[in-house]
Amino acid sequence: MNHPTGNDHGTTSSYVIGFVISIGLTLNSYYLVVNKVLAGNTLLLALGGLAAVQLFVQLYFFLHLGKGPNARLNKLLFSLMFIIVVIVVGGSLWIMKHLNYHNMTPAQTSHSIIRDEGYQK
């Protein structure tokens, strides 16, 4: 059993690096939005990407996901949680988008059904 050495909780430098990168990422995404540098789906992808990068930066530098006595189990459970959240939240959004057939007028619905589901009218 390894006794509680310093490396389990990172060193000052690892915290500073993580902190600086996170600030950079936050300001970057803020800049993209406020100055309208990008728009539409590309902006969404950029923001999503920046958020994901900051997630993994903080997981590594602040939460030390990769280090410590339970490293392997922590990573395994985190990825299982991540997959389940992606499945259920992504699935829910997919379902609720499709349930929007009801909010359109019947004419709009029939048109979009043919487009989505590929029926011949």
């Binding site: 909010n103 359109m104 019947p106 619905t109 029939s110 589901e117 009218k121």
Partner: protein, 297 residues
């Protein structure tokens, strides 16, 4: 030998029970298995084929259970006993692949049937479809005929062999619009329109009901769907046109008061925008083209 008599006895008794039950059931109408509509017929064949496919696995499993349990009972000294034989690759591959194949076949059936029997998909037919707007109220069904300018409660009639486009909404709790002998059910929800496309093959009266709990009067939320040949239908429509009551917004408010097991009623001319107003009432004005400011309070 005593054990064998007991098992035989059980088998004979259970066969007897099945026969008596079959005899007693001969008068009942099995709505799901005795369809009168195009959609319901396809759904019945689908149910029967799927059940037969399933029996391919169920019957062998039950037989094996009985056989193995009987043959390898502890008192049977002749049976082979191999305590440590705990895996066999061929056997395991067999019972991973058999269910896989069965599910693959079912998958194909599921893909085809879901697309073909989608309640939102209009029925391909040469005759001109009739549109009926359905409103699920506090424990009764209101049917509005936008083209014929009539409305009815807990009773709907349409000509046979003509596709019927139901546009369904609700004015209170969530319900489920279901006429078992004509086709599958679809939920009726407030503030939105769901659709159901059915077509009756021949003349008859069919029981319809709400299949989703919607409050105290839920059990009384049933209606009669009747299909008639087109001449009788025209005659019926003219008859309803002459009925004294008119379905105005005021009349509707009175009808909307909670009541159950309501006897069928008919209304003549009605406020044609009623159905759309009901949806707008819940919609608020955000994602709908028409800004009905007055309706949002």
């Amino acid at each position: 030998m005593k054990k064998n008599y007991k098992i035989l006895g059980i088998i004979v008794v259970s066969m007897g029970v099945v026969l008596v039950a079959g005899f007693l059931l001969r008068h009942n109408t099995f709505a799901v298995l005795q369809p009168r509509g195009v959609i319901a017929e396809k759904q019945r064949t689908l149910i029967i084929t799927a059940t037969l496919l399933m029996l391919l696995v169920v019957v062998p499993v039950l037989a094996m259970t009985a056989g193995i349990a009987y043959k390898y009972r502890a008192t049977n000294k002749k049976a082979r006993y191999t305590p440590n034989w705990d895996h066999n690759l061929t056997a395991e591959t067999i019972w991973w692949t058999i269910p896989f194949v069965l599910v693959a076949v079912l998958g194909v059936i599921t893909w085809n049937s879901s697309h073909e029997l989608d309640p939102f998909k209009p029925i391909a037919s040469t005759t001109k479809p009739i549109t009926i707007q359905v409103v699920a109220m506090q424990w009764k069904w209101l049917f509005i005929y936008p083209d014929q300018n009539i409305a009815t409660v807990n009773y709907v009639q349409f000509p046979k062999n003509t596709p019927v486009n139901f546009q369904i909404t609700s004015d209170a709790a969530m319900n489920s619009f279901w006429i078992p002998q004509l086709g599958g059910q679809i939920y009726a929800m407030a503030g939105m329109t769901t659709q159901l496309h059915l077509m009756a093959n021949d003349v008859g009266k069919f029981r319809g009901a709400s299949a989703n709990l919607s409050g105290a009067g839920f059990a009384g939320m049933k209606f009669i769907a009747e299909s008639s040949n087109s001449s009788d239908f025209k005659e019926w429509v003219n008859g309803v046109k002459r009925s004294p009551e008119r379905l105005t917004m005021a009349n509707y408010a009175q009808l909307a008061r909670a009541s159950s097991n309501v006897a069928p009623k008919t209304y003549a001319w009605e406020d044609s925008a009623l159905y759309d107003n009901l949806i707008m009432k819940y919609m608020g004005t955000d994602n709908s083209a028409m800004h009905m400011a007055g309706m949002t309070e």
